[in-house]
């Protein structure tokens, strides 16, 4: 083994490569971050305005894009009341803060991230488990406020514990879930049959 390594394996050369590669990757990431954040700001095509909770939301297969896409439909105000963008933001914010404070993410996944002890909440608003669109809001509110008393039968025996969610917080969570279901998640989850599809296939 010779004492002097060949030029391509020299320490000084790899030091330079390490610095340039790291710096270059980081600069690219910064550029992409600016672009991504501008494309995912609230009110855009990918992340809808909070007032989207005033409308019907669905999730259907888009033949042109060859994947599932959120579909924003006619007016369908949450809790029967049309809200302004500011009111909607306040409600969704309360929901998001409650979701964080109650540590939902350590049983559920949101946008597929979190723990795997309970179902994904990305399209919870659209889940056929809520029977039909007319009863959905009330079922969700009732369940959130007393999940033990309203536990739905499933073979796993798993239940959601009572987390002391107030009526106001429950309204916020439902608003947050409805708003989140309108985010364009590039087709995740795939092949999802929504509550609406069940009603109008």
């Amino acid at each position: 083994m010779s004492q002097q390594p060949p030029n391509w394996a020299s320490e000084a050369r790899w030091k330079k490569i390490a610095i340039w590669v790291t710096a270059g990757s980081f600069v690219l990431l910064i550029f992409l971050t600016f672009d991504t954040l501008s494309k995912t700001s609230v009110g855009g095509e990918r992340v809808r305005a909070y007032s989207v909770i005033n409308q019907e939301i669905d999730y259907r297969f888009d033949a042109q894009k060859n994947r599932y896409m959120p579909v924003i439909g006619k007016e369908a105000p949450l809790f029967g009341k049309v809200v302004t963008e500011a009111e909607a933001e306040q409600l969704v914010t309360l929901g998001k803060k409650t979701v964080q404070s109650k540590n939902c993410m350590n049983c559920h996944t949101l946008l597929g991230n979190g723990a795997y002890y309970a179902p994904d909440l990305t399209k919870a608003w659209l889940d056929p488990n809520w029977i039909d669109a007319a009863n959905r809001e009330n079922l969700m509110l009732t369940f959130l406020k007393d999940p033990v008393g309203n536990a739905r039968a499933n073979g796993s025996g798993r239940r959601m514990p009572n987390l002391g969610i107030t009526d106001e917080e429950a309204h916020g969570i439902v608003a947050f879930l409805k708003w989140m279901s309108a985010i364009d998640t590039n087709g995740f989850p795939n092949n999802f049959t929504t509550i609406n599809a069940k009603e109008q296939p």
Binding site: T22, T36, S101, N103, G112, N113, G155
Partner: protein, 493 residues
């Protein structure tokens, strides 16, 4: 009250008095404290993981008292924190030797250790006793931030950053006073990135897409970039120390690894941006760069095995060397292979958010990070006992360390395979066949393949716990009555 407060520092110091040893330098004394807390948190990680695993089998177990969410949070948080304690301890351990001078702010370092340990204790007690709060900012500031892995409330975040800055000051200033090297240069720059990235997780956003975008900056750019480089530095130093590997070769490898790790890992971040609402150009960027992420890990295997071979496996510390080898293979298989298996969007659409990820998480964190910390614990205990012999021919043939490394690796591998089977089953039944509704989710959870996998996972968890018990027994007894001094390797710089 004030009397209690004034005696508190003394009491805390005496709490760690048993970690004192006359054979250590200042940094190593501080490192011993870090390692001790790390081991305690390692035990907590396994115990709370076991509780969560049991709840998958018997959901009524501790229901309403210590729910799955709490156990799982303590399980993952204890892991993150004990690994960090191990890393900080390892750096303090070699800081004086590597810089050739005494640590500049050792007293500050000792204070920071106590502050961090008190903060961690308070955070865990709040997790266990208060658990959740109302949907207000105050809950996020004082109880639980509710974001996986970095649930620590905001006050603790600020404390963590301050402690990290103290640590960074000690590292940078000590090298500045003493001498710089390739290892110390990479280490110092890496610590800047590590502390800076944590700040990306310290603000509230209602927009969950932007929230998760920044959240992954912390999680991914720590675990799949800066932590990897940090352990590469620790491994570089360990190989020189254990095998007498030449600095020039080790440092060249370190630069190669940095180039490959940051070159693949920084943009590899994109594999977390497939489904959170971010644009679909991340499919190509995330898929491509994250698929390259295993390459530096292969390089590490080649590097460590080659070095060990060149030195004919003549190492100063056999248990540590064995754990270093376990680290390189574990890092490659756990982080590299298991990560690669589900990193392309075409498969990730079905595996994202299933036990497949839990399988990857278990073997990757253990293989990449727990192993190197355990290697360092063995290096530390050797010096702590007065630099005693820790090569071959240990009393009782060293059965304790051999069985503990075997049981820990076998246990984690078993859990990983069990979780992978559960993940396959979920990906097929819940995702591909039944379309991811809640009914589909429960259909997959109730399937015998899933239920059996959860039982196997728990059994292998018990094996892992047995391995940990043996490891603690070994670390508290190895080298105790050893009269032979450690093997001395001729210095080759």
């Amino acid at each position: 009250m004030s009397a209690i407060l004034s005696t508190l520092p003394g009491k805390l110091t005496s709490l760690f008095a048993f970690t004192e040893s006359p054979h250590l330098n200042g940094g190593q004394k501080l490192a011993s404290k870090y390692f001790t807390v790390a081991m305690a948190l390692f035990v907590a990680q396994l115990l709370f993981g076991l509780l969560a695993a049991i709840q998958f089998i018997w959901p009524n177990f501790l229901f309403g008292w210590l729910d799955f969410s709490v156990n799982r949070m303590v399980h993952t948080n204890a892991m993150v924190v004990w690994l960090l304690y191990g890393f900080i301890g390892s750096v303090y351990w070699f800081l004086e030797e590597e810089s050739g001078t005494e640590i500049v702010g050792l007293k500050l370092g000792v204070i920071a250790f106590h502050v961090l340990t008190i903060a961690v204790t308070v955070v865990v007690l709040v997790y266990l006793l208060i658990q959740t709060g109302p949907g207000k900012d105050a809950s996020i500031w004082f109880i639980n931030e509710g974001r996986e892995y970095i649930e620590a409330p905001r006050w603790a975040d600020i404390g963590i950053v301050l402690v990290m800055l103290t640590f960074f000051y000690n590292v940078a200033a000590t090298f500045m006073k003493g001498r710089w090297s390739g290892v110390s240069g990479v280490l110092t720059l890496d610590l800047v990135a590590l502390a800076g990235l944590y700040c990306a997780g310290m603000f509230y956003l209602t927009n969950i897409t932007a929230d998760q975008y920044w959240w992954w900056w912390v999680i991914h750019l720590w675990v799949e970039a800066t932590w990897e480089v940090l352990v590469a530095c620790i491994m570089a130093w360990s190989l020189m120390h254990l095998l007498g590997a030449r600095r020039k070769i080790v440092q060249t490898w370190l630069y190669i690894e940095v180039a490959l790790m940051f070159g693949s890992g920084i943009l590899g971040l994109g594999h977390h941006y497939f489904w959170i609402g971010t644009p679909d150009y991340w499919f190509s960027i995330g898929g491509f760069f994250s698929a390259l992420e295993p390459i530096p890990l292969v390089a590490m295997v080649v590097h460590s095995v080659y070095d060990a071979g060149v030195h004919k496996f003549k190492a100063t510390n056999h248990p540590a060397m064995a754990w270093i080898i376990a680290h390189t293979f574990g890092n490659f298989i756990g982080a590299g292979v298991w990560g690669f298996m589900q990193t392309l969007p075409q498969i990730n659409l079905y595996t994202h958010g299933t036990q497949w990820s839990a399988s990857h998480g278990h073997i990757a964190f253990f293989g990449a990070y727990a192993t190197i910390n355990i290697a360092f614990f063995y290096l530390a205990i050797q010096k702590w006992r007065g630099n005693v012999w820790m090569g071959g021919e240990l009393p009782d043939n060293g059965w304790k360390w051999k069985w503990s490394i075997g049981l820990l690796n076998f246990g984690v591998l078993g859990m990983t395979v069990a979780l992978l089977i559960a993940g396959y089953e979920q990906a097929f039944i819940e995702r591909a066949m039944q379309g991811s509704t809640w009914n589909a989710y429960f259909a997959a959870q109730d399937h015998p393949w899933f239920r059996e996998a959860m039982v196997w996972r728990t059994l292998f968890g018990l094996v892992t716990l047995g391995g940990l018990g043996l490891l603690i027994w070994d670390l508290t007894t190895i080298g105790k009555a050893e009269p032979r001094p450690a093997l001395v390797l001729a210095p080759r710089d």
